[in-house]
Each structure stands twice: as structure tokens, then as C-alpha cells.
Amino acid sequence: MSIEVNFMIGGEAGQGVQSVGFMLCKALARGGYHIFADQDYESRIRGGHNFFRVRASDSPVGAVIEPLNFLLALNRESIDLHRGELGPDGIVIYDRAKITGIAEGDDLFGVPLEELAEIAGNKVMANTVALGAVAGLIGYDREKINQVLTEQFKGPVGEANIAAAKAGYDFTEQNFKGKTGFRLKQASDARRLLLSGTDAIALGAIAAGCKFIAGYPMTPTTPILEYMASKAKDHNIVVVQPEDEIAAINMTIGAAYTGMRAMTATSGSGFCLMVEGLGLAGITETPAVVVLGQRPGPAIGLPTRTAQEELEFAIYSGSGEFPRAVLAPATIEESFWLTTKAFNLAEKYQTPVILIIDHTIATSYTTVERFDLSKVVIDRGSLYPDKSVVKPEEYKRHQLTDSGISPRAFPGLSRALAITDSDEHDEAGHLIEDAKTRNEQVEKRMRKITGMRNEIAPPRRCGPHTAETTLIGWGSNYGAIREAIDILSKEGTKVNALHLSELWPFPADAMTDALKTCQTTYVVENNAAGQLAHLIRAETGFSVSGRILKYDGRPFTPAIIADKVRRKEVVAW
């Protein structure tokens, strides 16, 4: 029997929902559990309703699922809203002294959270008491809880928190022993990493040798900028928070032109401001890695929720035509590897590369096997070899070549002059107006697409080779789609999936081949238009049978997808 436990911590902003959730993840991960955790929060600093879901299992997990086993309710609203999500043996841990007048039931496990916190030193530690309480209920190793508390809180505050957790642990152990069937022992000795998507991208960037980031804060990619800033000193990373996203993309381009691996990170609104800059990177053939963390739009939309509404924008935005790559990691682990790939593609093809993620990937946490850094490739592409150029005019930044790739020289590192222009230019980089040179440069740039397309991964197939229904997805829905396949196959419905993590240049041939064996095809997307469906049609001529869409800002779960497939609830517009 596999072990599988779902927790939810609910409360107001400011009650420490996120920190308890994260510490629970960390403590369970150190017990060898696989974790998938997501966050639902409002765009406010205090009040409102937030929750953090933690799924722990002894086998790998890639989505949150229903039902809940434990609800740690730090306020009344959490009970009102989520009690119904509990499974048959589900348990609510709550403060009986503070929350009264709720319908009685066997699921209610009252713990005097605030009172115990106050005894331990301060009632703000009610969340830590709750953490201890749930650990006591599942009989989890106290040491692991203490360890994460010590790491989270230093000095006397740490000691007080350990006391608070102990009080919660002792209370549930004494009062509820034997009343719940869940016992979580050490699952294995595995020492996995516990990462959010933004952690994975920041680590990927550092591993790839990125030492320049310019970014203007915007959910959900701000943590990338913050993480890089926290490592700026030890790892010689230039981190700039400029006046706006226009500056951010232009700084990225300036640093890359000068020879650094450079990036920026933003969300939809910020990306809008960067679009002119994408064209600048395109025509000056400057590498630029842009992380686009999607949230529901248009404009400000739902700032703290998830969406996949900017696929077509990422692919088609900009004035004029120029090559680019668009990569969309399916998992947090893949976010690391595709970040390293983004830098290689950007430098080899001297183009912008957009790493498009959704809020779910950015803000969820999962356990991954430690990255083998010896497998990280740093390919800087074609560099101008001759550092002893005598006549500066020997070097031509935009030299015509068969591949379309011109060797790069960096300003100040040799006598070669790096000359480039946002105007159409000649091989030397000076502005021109004539038709012949214009055509040569357009064609040179477009030739790079051929090479780039060859590096794009084909769609990944999951589930049986042939099936009645094929689900086609991109981004974070990968995890939920995979489990939806399992749910449906247990019911005897044969379903498989095609998943695209590398979307541009579109792998049209591989996708056309893959679609040949499909019967009913549904895209699964967090948008209202079915943007992947458009893209597939535009690039392969194939029309999907239907679209499973969700645009309420909340992620799909496996059960939601399975249900829509079962009921053929697909969007017709």
C-alpha cells in the first residue's frame, strides 16, 4: 500500500500559513517523502483567505489532489470553506477556544493553539503549535520538526518555536492517540531538494553562468530576482532593480551585448513593456533570456493566481519578424534544465529566448533528485576567434553565413569593434536603406530558425501508445494530466497524452507524426481561447476535437480533468 497524505493549512495573510506549509514540506521531505505543494493566496499583506496544500507520498507526485486528510485551520473561514474537502477519515485541527459555533463532528480535533503558544512565549506562534499538533497526530519524528524550526528562526525565537511545536505535539499525542489511522514514519533515506519553480530557475541560471539579472518586481517571478540578489556577493552576480521593465529588458540586452549571460524576469504586464526590446534583441542579434511568469490577465487580472494566457503573445509579440525560442517547462525539475537550455539557445542563435511558466510552476514546491551539475552544458556559441585583430574593420558583427550565425566579439575584449544597430544594418553593423542588404540581413536572421528548430524537443508522450482520447497540454498541467490518465485507465477508459515543453520554433513535424495515431484529442489549458489548439492548427493544420479550459485562476487537479473527459465537457467556442 502506498502512503499518500494531503494536508491543507488555511488562514489569513499574516498568520503564517506559508511558513507552516513550507516547514511541513521540508520536514516531510527530510523523511524521504515526495512532496507537491501549492499556494493559494490573495494580493494583500494582511487578512483575506490563504491556503497552502501539501501532498506527501512515498512515490513521485506532480499535482495536488482531492480529498484532504488534514486541515490545519488557523481561522474560522478555513473550516467554512474547506471542511467539505475532507475525505472520510479527514481531520480538522483548530483552536477550540477561539472558533466556536461550528457543526459538531468526529472530524473536529480541537487544540488550544493560542493558549499553548502563549505559554511557549507568544501567541503569534499559534501556527507553530498547529505544526507540532499535526506532527503529533501522524506520529512524525519530532527532531525533523525541530530542525526546520531552528533553520527558520534563529536564537531565542527558534527555541520558543520549538517549545510551541512541542506543546502542540504533546497535546495531540496525549489527547488523540489512536484516534487517527495516519502514521508517517521515515519513508526513505533519500535526500532530495525541495524547490519552488522560481528556485529552480534561479539555480538553473546560476549553474548556466548567468551573472546579470535586471528585473522589476512582479508576481510570480520576483523571487528569482530576490534569490539572485541574495547570492550577488558570493557569486559575483550583477543584480539591478531598474525603474521599469523597459529598462530591465534593455539592460539585459546591454549586458549580453557586452558578453555576459544575462536575463530578466517578469509577468504579463511587464512583458508587454518589454516587447519592443525583444525586437531590439532580434535585430541586433543579442541573446536575451526572459522569464515570463503567467498569471490571469488582461492587465492586472488576478495577480496571485495561475494562468496560461500568454503563449501566443510570447511567440508572436514584437514589431517585425525575428527568430526566438519559447520554452515552457512542465515541472519544477524541468524548469532548472530548460533554464540552462534557454541560455544556450540564446547564445548559439543570438536571439531572445522566452522561458514561459505559469504561476503554479513558479510558486509550487516539489521534491526533486539533486541536479547532477556535471550534466549542465554551457555552450556560448560562435565567438570571434581572433583576439589579436589588427585592423578593427576586419571584424563584421553581422557577417553573412550559411547558418545565419555570425561570430560574436565583445566590446573592449579585443581590438575588434562590436558595432550593431536597431536600424537595419549591413554586415559591419552600420545602418543601411538599400533593398539588397536588407534582404541579406533578413534572410540571414531567418536562417537561424532552421538550426534552432533542430534543437527543439518533440512532444512527450505519456500513457499507452494508442488511446481513445489524447490529452494535449503544456506547462504545469503535465502533473495533473498524467494522474488524470491513471484515474481514467482504472475505470477502463484508455487515455494518453502529448505534452509540449518546447513550443517555439514549433516542432511541427514531430507533432504531425504524433497526432497521426490519435483519435479524440483535447487540449488542456488554463485559458479561455485554447491557445495551444490555435498553435497546433497553425503549424500542423490539425484541428483538435475539443478544448478543456479553465480560466478561473486556479490550477487543474487530476480529478477535474478526468471528470471533464468523462463528461466530454469541452469548450466549443
Binding site: 543584480v239 546591454g254 551585448y257 558578453g259 549571460r261 573592449g412 569593434l417 552600420h430
Partner: protein, 291 residues
């Protein structure tokens, strides 16, 4: 690595393409001033980076030599800033028109001065949008009539006052008609530790029929000759920066050094970041923090 040159840098080293500006344009004087300053400072073209925007002014780098990034309209500043951070050994000069610098690029302008990047900013101020054929610019005189401002241009921005307020370390004005003075100002700018703004009065012979060569020649006077003018006195500088009309001062209006943005960057401590070796193993100790 650039080796120290024994051969002298001459004007010939700074030859470029033939300018496509109108005959008689103030930009020619500016081009000569730039070349003279770079030659006087014995800077090899390969050690210089010219980052320009879009407009007639933005074409200047093509007409001389050096590394060139001719960027978007209004955006040379962020490109220049990042290039300087990536390789502080480069002499980075940003070049704009008045529209490029104070209109489209206005936000970058303010914040670049506030952060105090080690950059010299040359603004060819012809008080008009020349490349787009004569519309009003942010520095057009009040009431200046163009096709887009038939009722006359609104109140102009005063770039020098703005610069002093924003914390710019060296605030200067020069005139395209005085190459010697301009070259001096550019040299002062390059040698200044921190951000230097040089607003250059530039007659536009085609579109600006008000602020002409004669108009400027009658009004411009040199501050350097003013007995007792102290450019480190901010209050006096604010006042001087507002003088416009009958008499227009040129020279260093304000100068005060303060720590630069580059000084605050720990990443630059090990030398130019662009020269650092890239290795994936760098991330190894970071992974431990996530276990």
C-alpha cells in the same frame, strides 16, 4: 585583454562613415567635439562604447569609430548602464537627442542620475524632433509652433534643473558652435566619477527657425569666466540652471562627486564581470541549501 598602445591615438582613428545630416547642422560640431575629446584623452576606439538612441543625434556613432550599440528610441541609457556594469573598463558614452533623452527616455534619465552610473550622457538639444520632421520636443520653447502644436508648445522641461534635483554628479551645458568648449566638457564628463550630463545646444537648420545659430551666438556666454562661480554650490547651481532667454550660460553648472552605482556592486569586486569564468559547479553549494 587590451594592451596599452604605444602608437598615439589620432583623429584618423576616429574616422567614420560620411554623415547623412543636413548641411550646416549643429551635429557636425558635436561630432568634432566628440572626436577631439577622445583623441585628447588618448582613448583607443576599442576601449570606447558609444550607445545611442534613435533620431538624428543617434546616428553619430556611425560617423566615428568605437564599439557601437545604436539602440531604440529613448533607450540608450539602460543599454549603456548594463554595458558599463558588465565591463567597467569600457569608457561608455550615451548619445541622445532631446526627444530621445527627455521625452521617450525620461524615466531612464531620471533614475540613471539618481543611481549615479559611471556614464557620460551627451544630449544633442535642438529643441525639436528632427528625424520625424519638426514636431515639438520636451525642450521646445513655450509657444513654439509646429504641425503637432499649432497652438504652441507647452512649458518646456529644464534638463539641467532636473539633473541637479535628481542627483546628477556633473551637470554641464555646451554649444555645438564651440568645438573647443564642447571637447572640454566631454572630457570633464568622462573624467568625472559618476554620471555626467552634457546638454548640447544644437541649432537645427531645417526645422528650428527660432533657435538658430545666430540666436544662440548672441546669447551664449561661458561660465568659466564668471568670477566666483562655484559649481559645487547647489543653490547657486539651481539658479544658474534656470537662466534662459537673453543670456544662456554654458560650462559646468554643477559638480559634486558621490559614490557611484558601480561602487555599490559587490559583483564588481573581482574585476569586470564579463571576464569571470562560467562554471556550473558554482551552483553546487547552493543546492545544499535546498536539502
Amino acid at each position: 585583454m587590451v594592451t596599452t598602445e604605444t602608437a598615439r591615438v589620432t583623429t584618423a582613428d576616429y574616422a567614420g562613415l560620411v554623415p547623412a545630416w543636413c548641411p550646416g547642422c549643429g551635429n557636425f560640431g558635436i561630432l568634432n567635439g566628440v572626436k577631439r575629446a577622445l583623441v585628447d584623452l588618448s582613448l583607443e576606439p576599442s576601449r570606447v562604447l558609444l550607445v545611442s538612441g534613435i533620431g538624428q543625434a543617434g546616428k553619430l556613432p556611425h560617423y566615428t569609430s568605437g564599439n557601437v550599440f545604436n539602440s531604440l528610441h529613448g533607450r540608450p541609457m539602460p543599454v549603456a548602464i548594463a554595458a558599463k556594469l558588465a565591463n567597467p573598463e569600457l569608457t561608455v558614452i550615451a548619445i541622445s537627442g532631446d526627444g530621445d533623452a527627455y521625452g521617450e527616455g525620461g524615466n531612464h534619465f531620471i533614475h540613471a542620475m539618481r543611481r549615479n552610473h559611471q556614464i557620460t550622457y551627451l544630449v544633442h538639444d535642438n529643441q525639436v524632433y528632427a528625424l520625424t520632421k519638426g514636431q515639438a520636443s520636451p525642450t521646445s520653447d513655450s509657444g513654439y509652433v509646429t504641425k503637432t502644436t499649432p497652438q504652441g508648445a507647452p512649458f518646456p522641461v529644464n534638463p539641467l534643473v532636473l539633473a541637479i534635483a535628481a542627483g546628477c554628479g556633473l551637470v554641464a551645458r555646451s554649444f555645438a558652435g564651440d568645438t573647443n568648449h564642447l571637447a572640454e566638457m566631454i572630457k570633464r564628463g568622462i573624467q568625472h566619477r559618476g554620471f555626467a550630463l552634457i546638454d548640447i545646444l544644437q541649432p537645427c537648420v531645417t526645422f528650428n527657425r527660432v533657435n538658430t545659430w545666430d540666436w544662440y551666438r548672441q546669447r551664449v556666454y561661458k561660465l568659466d569666466g564668471e568670477a566666483g562661480y562655484d559649481p559645487s554650490d547647489k543653490t547657486v547651481a539651481f539658479e544658474k540652471a534656470q537662466e534662459w532667454g537673453e543670456r544662456i550660460p554654458v560650462g559646468v553648472i554643477y559638480e559634486k562627486e558621490r559614490p557611484t552605482f558601480e561602487d555599490s556592486m559587490p559583483a564588481l569586486a573581482k574585476g569586470p564581470p564579463v571576464k569571470l569564468e562560467l562554471k556550473a559547479s558554482e551552483a553546487e553549494p547552493l543546492l545544499d541549501e535546498f536539502v
